[in-house]
Amino acid sequence: MVVCEIQGLTRDYGKGRGVFDLSFSINQGEVFGFLGPNGAGKTTTIRHLMGLLKPEQGYCTIGGKDCWKNRADIQKNLGYIPGEMVFFDDMTGAEFLSFMAKYRKKKTNERTKELLDRFELDPRVKLKKMSKGMRQKVGIVVAFMHDPEVLILDEPTSGLDPLMQNRFVELILEEKARGKTILMSSHMFEEVERTCSRVAIIKNGKLVALNDVETLKAAQTKKYIITLEDENAAAAFAGEGLQVYEISHNQVTVIVKNNLKELISVMNRYPVKNIITPNQSLEDIFMQYYGEDKS
């Protein structure tokens, strides 16, 4: 069943900015990854879903309701983490949570407490004095505390440390198991890999790719930077028949795709001093998969 649908959504800000004829849909119980470089139109799309912007052309619906016309109604069952956390700074975290609950005409419940414990957040601190990570946690609690059916999360883990990112992934997986529908924009490959079933990528406001995460993972290639004792060893290592990306001094960068065993056996025969895997962003992987020409 389709829960969230975007059809021909267009908003032209001029100079190629905005979103253009964007269409995709998200099914119930699906975690949908929404990716793209900065300025690609992710946040603009999300603003349309939140009923903050009126589509110039096309439409978007959540639960069969129009996102612009029925915005207040849709919010009853929607949780939102904005890309930027701006609260009422004079409040403490606890005051803000209680304000939001009452504002929604809900009571602060057990779930709020459970979420605070899960993210180890002390809400008695003034929002103004909170670190970026703490503010992010407050945002997460606000989005989940009323147990909504649909969640729209704009870079939900920015500012969180790896431990908390992990807890967040666990939370998403639990919600997914409970049948919640989630749209999540993210930059973290691991996060998307672990949670999302499908991923869309947009660039310059246009949908450039829409695929299963499994398909992507299968096509994924990885880089390894191997440090050897000296330049001679590096040169010899590079001649072993692996796909070499780059040699610089005593470092060799190789590209591995489904042949990790071969790399390991070669490394066994050489005086390897260090091995690192540079971070690869999801966009890199996507672009690699679809080829730069597609962008």
């Binding site: 009126k54 207040a72 919010q75 701006v86 009422f88 304000f99 939001m100 504002y103 929604r104």
Partner: protein, 266 residues
Amino acid sequence: MINWTLYKRGIKGSWKTLLIFAAVLTMYFTVIISMFDPAFGSALDELAKAMPELMAIVGMTPASAELVSFMEAYLYGFIMLVFPMVFCILSANKLISRHVDRGSMTYLLSAPVKRETVVFTQMKVLVTGLFVLVLYATLLGIVDCEISFPGELDIVKFIMLNVGVLCLHLFIGGICFLCSCIFNDSKYAVGVGAGIPALEFIIQMMANAGEKLEKAKYATFFTLFDSDGIIAGESGAIWGIVILFVGAIILFGTAIVVFSKKDLHI
């Protein structure tokens, strides 16, 4: 149509400002009322006679011997116009455009609360603040006069004067609030929202100043608040109040419609 949680929060955010304005008004009221002297004409009247042009600019023209006319001349020509006006400008900006500018409006709209309700609630906060401020001035004036000059004040006329000033400020508040709803940028909201009433007020002062510029009074809505006419019980002055009140309703109504229909980049 109203969200009480947001309303309470708005009131909590306004009371400090209200307290400051109330304190300033208390000071002016006490000092000026103490200058009233029914038998010999007050010190202020002497001043007004000494430099009539300057005093006229700020609406202070020699009054009759009645206490209510005295207060009308020396409190409701400048002080009760300017201070509540500043309150309108500050509050209207804080209630809508600052939330949009900073981004905290996101949280008010990511809840099952209609935009119309958000704006209406914020409008109620502004109107409540104004009402409390004018009510305070009314009570302060009555109590102060009864203590200093028992039985001298024509209370009915004084209340009518305050009803008039309240309607004037509802109208000004409507302008500021509408600007706060139109502009996403706080600086434009304040610039235009404060600029229009301030300009109109300057025109009013110019019109007060001299015969040549007297016609300028037709270019400012301050003319609709005819304090002399209210004291004299003229029907034209009552109509002025009614027009201001209706104007305020139209301005606030427009503000609600504008905000509900506009695109928000937050």
